[in-house]
Amino acid sequence: MINLAIASGKGGTGKTTVAVNLALALIPDYDNVELLDCDVEEPNAHLFLKPEFELEKAVGIPVPAVDHDRCTFCGRCSEVCMFNALAVLKDQVIILEELCHGCGSCAYLCPEKAITEYNRPIGTIKSGSAGKLKFGGGYLNPGEAMSPPLINAVKKMIQPDHISIIDAPPGTSCPVVSAVSGCDYCLLVTEPTPFGLNDLDLASQMVSKLGLPAGVVINRSDLGDDRGEKYCRHAGLPVLQKIPFDKELAGLYARGEAVVSHNREWRRRFKALFSGITGNKKEVSRP
């Protein structure tokens, strides 16, 4: 129905808070809400939703193995690998698995067909539900750097007839692009600090490059300055919600609870945020 990504340039601005509260605020009115935790390096939405998992699956990427009897050490594999995952030295091919992105070029282009691929596990995906809310998430193995394939595996769980809320990782690099690509709308969560503004600018550039309609939530909105808001006005980004720096919110967060479950006014505000998004999305997608 709608794939809604919650992203931010800066980390720790409140993506998960917004994603979780938004999902829970919609639950009474809709039967088809799901939340997908794509922040696979630091997944934490499950701490707030406490879902019961029904399915768990290992996710891996194909990495090369060289048959040294067939290999002529021609160097083609190393030449085509843009991530330096293979090096050919005299009568040995060294494979640096942690650099391999699993693209398969080396195996495909090896003239001797000396390369086979095997699956290297990078993490797991889990799915289940928390009451009426459907939940899915990706959990990257500790020490692992290759998160986009796992994020893509989480996104494969998206159900097309659902309101799918995607909790994206922070930043603006490959993992974020993987998480937000193909979504219908991107909500950028920011905070009124110089770092918040700097990273909002980067995130805003990213979504415009991806052609995604976007809006902004300003968290801890009563701290810092108003440069973020001015930036949004200037960049044509609608500010759809402001969340103040509030003791009740902080306390609930620290206990792993969602404010919409405790406070009707906040439930109303998050529902209004969703209306703002759907209204804004229509406006933006109009030719």
Binding site: V88, L89, Q92
Partner: protein, 127 residues
């Protein structure tokens, strides 16, 4: 013996570079004659990862038998070993001086990494 010296520039008078995988140039020198063979630009100096093994591969293809450098990381040491390229550390000053020290047996032959992974990225990282 065909030597490769990690260097900041081209030619015998270039300054040596303490980093193996991320030095901008390798200066190839014949140890017996002290003659300059070639200055090779290190294309993988700015790579996101795997600069050490790529450098080792580059030198292996050119028939280098020993490298003179400051430090090698674990992946570089492993790759150099696979290419049967000897590692000598302790270079300072010019390429010329490093070759002289090598000929006087004043450099340190090592077979293992002398520094941790990615340490060459901390200094002189260029974007």
């Amino acid at each position: 013996m065909k030597l490769a010296i990690s260097a900041q520039g081209e030619g015998l008078n270039a300054q040596t570079d303490q980093r193996f995988g991320r030095c901008p140039y390798f200066v190839l020198v014949d140890s017996e004659s002290g003659e300059l063979l070639e200055s090779v630009r290190n294309e993988s100096a700015g790579a996101a990862g795997g600069a050490g093994p790529q450098s080792a591969q580059l030198l292996s293809h050119r028939g280098v038998e020993a490298v003179l450098t400051g430090n090698v990381g674990p992946k570089a040491a492993h790759a150099l070993k696979a290419g049967r390229i000897k590692i000598y550390t302790g270079v300072e000053g010019s390429v010329c001086a490093a070759v002289q020290k090598f000929n006087e047996n004043k450099l340190i032959a090592v077979s293992e990494a002398t520094t941790s992974a990615h340490s060459g990225m901390q200094k002189g990282r260029q974007r």
